[in-house]
Symmetry: C2
Subunit: 262 residues, 2 copies
């Protein structure tokens, strides 16, 4: 189970996910071993177990009940074309689509080098400076469900790869991978903005839906550790086929002093 260079908590997360999936960890009613029991089994401190459980809870995988125990969240498994936890995780889209459809495919429409233009502001570039852009479609069950456009400043690409940047991007598994391999940067965090939009002619054609059909639009900018933008993404999800599922906890009472409305 051990992965080099992964924290103990991360290793415990992966092991627990695996054992939850195979059904060897939880009781029939979903009850998991207690934190003390888990810390004995994994030979780590209880604090480390709690670190792992906190992330699994945030991801909606488990439910913790004080004085009772920790349970697997049965309402969270066995889903349709749902994107779960994506808002918190900043990892590749395709992985989340595969979570509900292991046969999901990514299909590159186009990749090329072009001026930054309309995304210059987001990426903190001059409008005339060059970027590598890619357009993809994600298919689930053979049906296009997500359209995705990613843009990376060409100035970030290592000198030896600038010439073939478009081609390399086309071959990369994701923007994350391209940035790691050919720009020697890592994504530190992303800021995203989610809205509703209507399918225009181009998107309707690509996503095989009607003109004016409802779409979820997620715009995102990724930053490296120096807080410099490393990529821009514009994603459109078919509103009738895709849903974002989240588990929300009344933990942080940020801003207002009392939890009130609804």
């Amino acid at each position: 189970m051990v992965r080099r260079n992964a924290s103990l908590a991360q290793q415990i997360i992966l092991e627990m996910l695996s054992e939850i999936k195979s059904g060897t960890m939880a009781r029939d009613d979903g009850l998991l071993p207690s934190e003390t029991e888990l810390s004995r089994r994994f030979e780590v401190s209880r604090a480390t177990v709690r670190e792992a459980l906190s992330k699994l809870e945030m991801a909606g995988v488990i439910i913790r009940r004080q004085g009772v125990g920790t349970f697997v969240n049965s309402r969270s498994s066995g889903q349709r074309a749902a994107v779960r936890g994506w808002f918190d995780e900043a990892t590749a889209l395709i992985d989340f689509v595969r979570d509900s459809d292991s046969q999901a495919q990514a299909q590159v429409i186009e990749s090329r080098i072009r001026p930054a233009n309309e995304v210059a502001g987001c990426l903190e570039l001059e409008p005339a400076s060059s970027v590598v852009a890619i357009e993809k479609l994600f298919l689930s069950g053979g049906i296009p469900v997500i359209h995705c456009a990613n843009v990376i400043p060409l100035s970030l690409v290592e000198p030896g790869s600038v010439e073939k940047a478009a081609e390399l991007f086309r071959g990369a598994e994701s923007a994350y991978q391209f940035i790691a391999h050919y720009c020697h940067h890592r994504v530190h965090h992303q800021q995203s903005e989610t809205r509703a939009a209507l399918a225009d002619e181009k998107l309707a054609h690509l996503l095989q839906c009607q003109l004016g059909a409802p779409l979820l639009r997620v715009e995102e900018v990724a930053y490296n550790a120096e807080l410099r933008p490393v990529f821009y993404g514009l994603n459109h999800f078919r509103g009738d086929l895709v849903a974002f599922r989240q588990v929300r906890h009344p933990a942080l009472t940020i801003g207002p002093l009392a939890a009130t409305p609804g």
Copy 2:
């Protein structure tokens, strides 16, 4: 600054939010005191400071950079009609609207007792059993931006309040408050599903937008500590005026072994 019955971490969160807002905590470039310094100032252990900082980071308020320091997220403040962090928090909608417009108003359209019907499944009720339902509009700058429908099983309402449940719900600040006051339950967590949808005739009229305008639809079910559903909510956000803003971190690598696509 102290609030009774609040954890030290929670108190630190509120204090830091206040000091960040007033500008007395961060340096001009946004750098906050180190964790060690904060633990001295608040007279708590570093672990407790980190607990608070983790939640502020998740909420997108601060950015932590290993080896450098902790900074306020300047891109996160000074927003429009944005809903920030709502996916993680499970608190009242109105508070989040007020976050970007302190003049925001809630306006009750209707509240009544009716059969569960179409929401019976979500609430684990018989279709014929009674529920208290409320419909609200949230206005920002005088413009309706969110339509919200909440449903609570009448069986949860304390016997003495059943008769006037509709009226009491109308007077309550939120579904959370109604449930706490008149049902003696607390929300343990919520499951939500976000999609894109089009405005039908009714919603177009209420939200003062065109028929077929894009809307964000968030459907949610809240559960108490015993994992019994306590309320159902169906919220529609005007796609042109409201956006969900999130900060995503590549922390949890759940499911896939490598962070890959985009």
